[in-house]
Symmetry: C3
Subunit: 167 residues, 3 copies
């Protein structure tokens, strides 16, 4: 606890961990890659952390941010646990919140000939993108954080953008 | 497919598209603008992509990020489809998840004299902000991605922040 | 209104506020800190704006972005109102959307010995992270924006990452 600064805010303890050395006076670098994914199911989750990790290392960025986003509007990128039971729960929960229904009765969007209005809603719950810190050349993650591609209207190729900026 | 690297991860095909040239050793630039919007309805969605696009071009940033966020806590900025049927579906769906009810019985927040507790919830579903990659001077978007301002307590002026950083 | 540019888009008025001076040709800086929080309740919200504000000032960044994210997957960082009634509403609303239930009957995740599947869902609704603009050395906030740590499986220490990048 020697190098922690302790504060009491609203009845909770708040510490500072020792900070990373501030790196000043560097030039900016960037790297952009687009992943293509084709999941065999309508709704599915895929752990893309190893791919993002590889791109971050390749960029040479030591201190910066990486943006990872779905480029399609019926898909998500989110961070959560790599646990199959949880993914089963997510599928059931999202189906309850925004049920698949190809008819134009429930969803006006499906009057256009589409059948995926539900997928546009599921994607809003799970989010389009994550922004992750890069510290000392690595994804600055908590113990269980993993990056997932979330597919809600699969069985066709879709893209994910990975953009690294930093120094 | 010549310049694609194919990998098999969890039963799905994952390719790399050819990467953008890494641009090293540049200085950082930034540009900040605040849009003011005044939508005539309580709940409505407005496509602000042309405005963001214009600010990105004006910034001169070639490789970077643009942050677009609502500055009000009963509004959202999100990316989805510019399709009126889908927007109708969103309105109905959000009303089901967090119904408007000005009485202080359902929502404690409305004991303060406010009537917009539902809007604070709708905004959490749809999100506060998007971060979009800028590649070769342009918004690096998938085929259908459009940036929307989402209003859940309208009929008064509200602001959206657009911040470009990059090289 | 003299320095506003007025446009009509989709029936709504859209103005530009006077823009911040573009700052070109600067080096990039960064600062990373990790906060540790230990909230006494299972579900609770804590205003961490003063801490983030302090880190932004310490970084010396004048124009840039700050990323604030939960490093745990049963917690959120989000921006909304510092109003106790609203927080009560959020707790009730999230409990309705994803009820706590330690049994493995409702949630497959709880077959692993965990009891917190509901917390993984609540966190997806409220979000993992916020990205906030720094303009002229300060958090570029609307009138009511405050940054909250959202805890959905508390009573143990958890970390929040704050990363500043800019010039």
């Amino acid at each position: 606890m020697a190098n922690h600064e302790a504060n009491r805010i609203s009845g909770s303890l708040l510490y500072y961990l020792p900070e990373c050395p501030s790196e000043n006076g560097h030039f900016m670098k960037s790297l952009t890659e687009h992943l293509v994914l084709n999941l065999p199911d309508r709704m599915a989750f895929l752990n893309i952390t190893p791919r993002v990790d590889e791109i971050v290392r390749k960029s040479g960025v030591q201190e910066g941010l990486v943006l990872v986003n779905a480029m399609h509007i019926t898909a998500s990128v989110f961070i959560n646990d790599d646990e199959p039971g949880l993914h089963e729960d997510y599928r059931k929960w999202l189906e309850g919140l925004a049920p698949f229904d190809p008819s134009p009765t429930r969803y006006a969007h499906n009057r256009t000939g589409e059948d995926n209005a539900d997928a546009h809603m599921k994607r809003q719950i799970m989010g389009r993108e994550v922004v992750v810190a890069i510290t000392k050349g690595k994804l600055d993650f908590g113990p269980w954080e993993q990056i997932f591609y979330g597919e809600f209207d699969g069985r066709r190729p879709k893209r994910v953008l990975v953009k690294v900026i930093g120094e």
